[in-house]
């Protein structure tokens, strides 16, 4: 009897850490899988800089405090991006030329993972099989194939996305990225060897946890990871509007070839 009681106590003691953990949120289902439908947006300054950064002036003094960089804490696990030495030099060159060379300034497609934490909303459109991600910025979008994995046909800005479910988590394997997109406005970058594995997990009715493992042996010494919560737009009238930014980038891109008028 005493042994039995002791045994029970030990079992209960062993269970304490498990009980103390927040119970895993179980998302509503769509066709048996967690329903990720919704309009989501990051609420951080990762697009300005993935790493810890204080508030600072932007690259253009003409816009005053508008265009300055908001302070933010790193979204990178360990707080460091493991660049190879030569790649770090390239990152610093990117930073120096960020005003003209950041693909975001040119209104180019944002690539993965940057599309997720741009300061614009995106919509996850989850059907009974595939998912479509529709980003407000530059009408970028990508289909996530949930059928048998497809090989990337060619390198592209948004890559080739093959997804599968792991319990509560949507896992997306992204290959075929052309490596021309940056990770943020400071010039963090990768090459066409980039491989991203993303994980989307609902952690509440209006929260979606995002994780991306970034692997590119030609630029980084080891894989590294970013993570952040995404927040649902709960406004009744929330919808993806249009941010077709080509007209905003034409002066920057083609201004030098514009006919000079003698006015």
């Amino acid at each position: 009897m005493r042994t039995c009681f002791l045994g029970l106590t030990i079992i209960l003691l062993l269970m304490i850490p498990a009980l103390a953990q927040t119970p895993t949120y179980r998302a509503p289902r769509l066709n048996g899988h967690p329903d990720l439908n919704g309009i989501w947006q990051a609420m951080n300054s990762a697009n300005w800089d993935l790493l810890d950064h204080p508030a600072q002036a932007g690259p253009l003094s003409q816009t005053g405090a508008i265009g300055a960089v908001p302070a933010g804490q790193t979204v990178v696990e360990g707080g460091e991006i493991p660049y190879r030495p030569e790649a770090l030099k390239k990152k610093q060159e990117n930073f120096a030329k960020r005003q003209t060379d950041d693909p975001e300034a040119k209104c180019y497609m944002p690539g993965i993972p940057r599309a997720t934490y741009l300061p614009y909303p995106f919509q996850i459109v989850q059907s009974q099989r595939d998912l479509l991600f529709v980003y407000e910025y530059a009408t970028a979008n990508r289909l996530v194939n949930m059928g048998p994995a497809q090989k990337a046909g060619s390198d592209t800005w948004m890559g080739t996305s093959n997804g599968h479910w792991e319990g509560e988590t949507l896992v997306i394997d992204v290959t075929g990225l052309n490596g021309l997109a940056w990770f943020d406005r400071t010039g963090n970058f990768a090459s066409d060897k980039l491989h991203v594995v993303e994980r989307f997990t609902r952690t509440g009715p209006d929260h979606l946890q995002y994780e991306a493992t970034i692997e590119d042996p030609s630029v980084f010494t080891r894989p590294w990871k970013i993570s952040m919560p995404l927040y649902r737009h709960v406004e009744k009238n929330a919808q993806i509007l249009e941010f077709k930014c080509v007209p905003f980038a034409e002066e920057l891109l083609y201004g030098q070839f514009k006919k000079k008028t003698n006015n």
Binding site: N31, Y108, T139, G153, E242
Partner: protein, 354 residues
């Protein structure tokens, strides 16, 4: 072991012997009428890849000689087939051809007939095999209403607007240069600037990258166009349009289901956005209808209504064919827009020569 083997052989023999009857039985079952599939949440399911490439080559407006006849006679259809055969022959021939034939307005012309088509005996523009050619069909024109298959006349105010613009363009110094005006990007079309083909243009059968994909989720239908990577999110939950101050290149779309037909109303266009070459007004209102006719045919209808621009609404209609193996490519138009650099820098270089 042996009895088991004998038993297995017997089973295999029985199946083999009965198979033809089993199959015959299947084919003889009464054909059930086709019913449109539903999504798990109960909407008609029109998802899939619906490229418009089969209809490439069908003229937008009808040949006046056909009058109100919407479909071709056998003889007229035979001509379309012959044209398509000739095109096929050209497409598969050597791309460097001393006197290439190029399709222009339903006939083929050579460089001798039109020297502007070629430079040094080589066709200007992409090689022939680049383009989608479509399948010959009997539809006389994509425009089905008015009954003559022609876009109706412009209103007097729209005529004046177009005339004024034409006059302004002709009065510019660059108007007489052989390449036309390339003073700024604003001299280029919205398509050349990689902004949009517009909603009407987005789904019209086109020479290349004609993919259309439909994805649905509860409360939404998304029409994804391969060209210029558009993804139009259409709420189908009965909510009102956004406020009138919010203007969009692809407009603001709202959908609803009537039976198996998806009806989409689109307003809030960027003022002046052209349909074809005609600038439209703030009254532009488009109504689209998607109806699944059978498992592989999605009938598309689009009514253009802008009472300040055209004297009456007009309607385009054509079938989209399902093509599960169509591959949508990333159409990184703006990212690779060398045309813009070349057109503008070329025009500046020409000016320096003078």
């Amino acid at each position: 072991m042996k009895p088991l083997l004998r038993f297995l052989i017997l089973i295999v023999a029985l199946i083999t012997a009965l198979a033809p009857f089993m199959l015959t039985g299947q084919t003889k079952a009464p054909a059930r009428p086709w019913t449109a599939p539903k999504t798990p949440w109960g909407d008609p399911d029109i998802q899939g890849l619906w490229p418009g490439n089969d209809m490439v080559g069908t003229p937008l407006e009808r040949d006046r000689a056909l009058g109100t006849r919407a479909f071709l006679t056998d003889e007229e259809f035979a001509k379309r087939v012959a044209f398509s055969e000739e095109q096929k022959e050209i497409d598969t021939a050597d791309t460097v051809n001393p006197n290439p034939r190029v399709a222009r307005g339903g006939v083929f012309v050579t460089c001798e007939q039109d020297p502007n088509l070629c430079r040094n005996g080589v066709r200007i523009g992409p090689p022939n095999y680049w383009d989608e050619r479509g399948k010959p069909n009997r539809q006389a024109s994509l425009v089905v209403d008015p009954p003559d298959g022609r876009i109706p006349p412009l209103t007097p105010e729209a005529q004046k607007l177009v005339a004024d613009r034409t006059a302004a363009r002709r009065s510019r110094a660059c108007a007489n240069s052989p390449g036309g005006c390339h003073d700024s990007w604003e001299d280029e079309s919205l398509w050349d600037r990689c902004i949009t083909r517009g909603l009407v243009g987005s789904i019209l059968p086109n020479g290349y990258n004609t993919g259309n994909q439909i994805v649905q989720a509860p409360g939404y239908v998304i029409i994804r166009n391969e060209m210029i990577h558009e993804a139009r999110v259409i709420p189908v939950d009965g909510r009102p349009h956004v406020g009138s101050a919010i203007r969009k290149w692809m407009g603001d779309s709202r959908g609803h289901w009537e039976g198996n037909t998806l009806i989409i109303e689109t307003t809030n266009f960027v003022p002046g956005i052209p349909v074809g070459n005609t600038p439209t007004s703030d009254a532009l209102h488009l109504t689209e209808r998607f109806t699944l006719a059978d498992a592989n045919t999605l009938n598309y209808q689009l009514t253009v209504d802008d009472s300040k621009t055209w004297t009456r609404p007009w309607t385009i209609s054509f079938p989209l064919k399902r093509s599960d193996d169509y591959q949508v490519f990333e159409y990184a138009c703006h990212e690779g827009n060398y045309y813009m650099y070349n057109a503008l820098s070329g025009a500046r270089a020409e000016e320096k020569k003078k």
